[in-house]
Amino acid sequence: MTFLRPSITANGSAILVPALAFVVVVFTFNLVMAFVPLSAQRKNELTNLVRQDCGSCHGMTMQGGLGKPLLPENLIESTPEELAEIILAGVPGTPMPPWRGLLARGDALWIAAQLKTGRIKRGNTQ
């Protein structure tokens, strides 16, 4: 971590360098994490989250409720990336909240893929 130590010689960069380094580290971490396969435990947690908590509005078997149905036939038009973005950012003007902060991009992408294949509904996500 020595490269984060403020440099006394470079004037003005005492804060800038560590800040930039932090941004790069976080960005790289997120980029890598988006492609790192999720652990079996995380998949179980997410399956439970989708069925139980998303299920409050979308139905435990994703057939819809106060929120839209999320069955594969309802999601044909959307790519996993688009769905992940909706999960992370929410839908302004509706009760769909942004899940960013609770879910990483990798989590959201995995959930999107499960929804599109209908595996969440069947409870068989491994």
Binding site: D53, M60, G64, L66
Partner: protein
Amino acid sequence: MRTWLSVLFAALIPLGLLASNFHGQARSPALANSQPGLRGTGDLGVIIERASGSVQIIETTGQSSLARIKGLGDLSHASVVFSRDQRFAYVFGRDGGLSKIDLLQQTLAKRIIQAGNSIGGAISDDGKLIAVSNYKPGGVKIFNADTLVLIATIEATYGDQGELSKTVGLVDAPGGRFLFTLYEAGEIWMVDCADCAQGAKPRLTKFKNIGLQPYDALISGDGRYYIAGLFGEDGMALIDLWAQKPAVTRILDGYGRGQKKLPVYKMPHLEGWAKADNHYFLPAVGHHEVLVVDAKTFKQSGSIKVHGQPIFVMARPDGRQIWINFAHPRNDTLQVIDVKTKQIIKQFTPGKAILHMEFTPRGEQVWVSVRDENRIDVYDTRTLKKITSLPANAPSGIFFTWRAGRIGL
């Protein structure tokens, strides 16, 4: 000779009676054992096991489980009302299933699929009608409570295209009425169904422009006020049913204005709005607060900072304590407010996903469902200590039979 015989007879009769009496006494415990169903239902209840489509019948005197009834379909967000004799529980499932459970015989008495997607129901004040609130097709259906035969269908049409709105916040009201709210349409409809059981058509009164995205509603315990919570804007829509000409007024307009709203990961519930000490205690939407509202003026008189976004804010029957659970991701915690001082006097962390609480009729116990721990915890509300736990499969709603005698439950 005849006299002697009659004397002998007279002497024998009481003996015989005595003998049969002994016989009866000797038999009675066996008789009681052979009729285990001979009991009251006032201490019974139903626990929804949402993942497995089953319910447990429990009793609160000895805190035990009596039976499990299976095959009730998708029970996410399921709710229950009771027949007025407290013998039958009507379970409203998410998949449109309406199941009638016999608590004494511990059997599924009847079951129908009445819609594609539904959210809850109500029983009429005379106990003759069951109404169900449906998302798909949007509207309300009314059934004979005895037979579950369809009596009336009310389509929640709105707009120029004749679209159907999802319906929420269905309750019974005195005078053979039901009220419900149209989520997309932003309307409240009152249904007069006092003579529906005799074949009369339901009479509708519509209240329009009540506000954006009404997500749930409740009726006050005296049956006077119907109040719909709005998701799309701050504030609530209120109807005074005692008014000469009932109309919608706005209450709590702009509460929380100027504060940044947090993402709402779970809609709060309005059923069982806590009224205590002449105030209502209700969950704020998108804030870590319980609102305190004057029960006469419906003006906010204060707020209490709490652990997370409240879901259920429930008063113990005597009104002295308020118990609160919270939205994801803070749903592992329970808090207890002392109504007199408005202070939080206790915080528990029983486990992941605390979904519901139900008090016993006089409030000495509260039962709590801890979904992700597959457990029901029972607390003593005087000592604030756990009495016992019961295993349950992903439990959500808990419903006790005392609801049978309450307006709006």
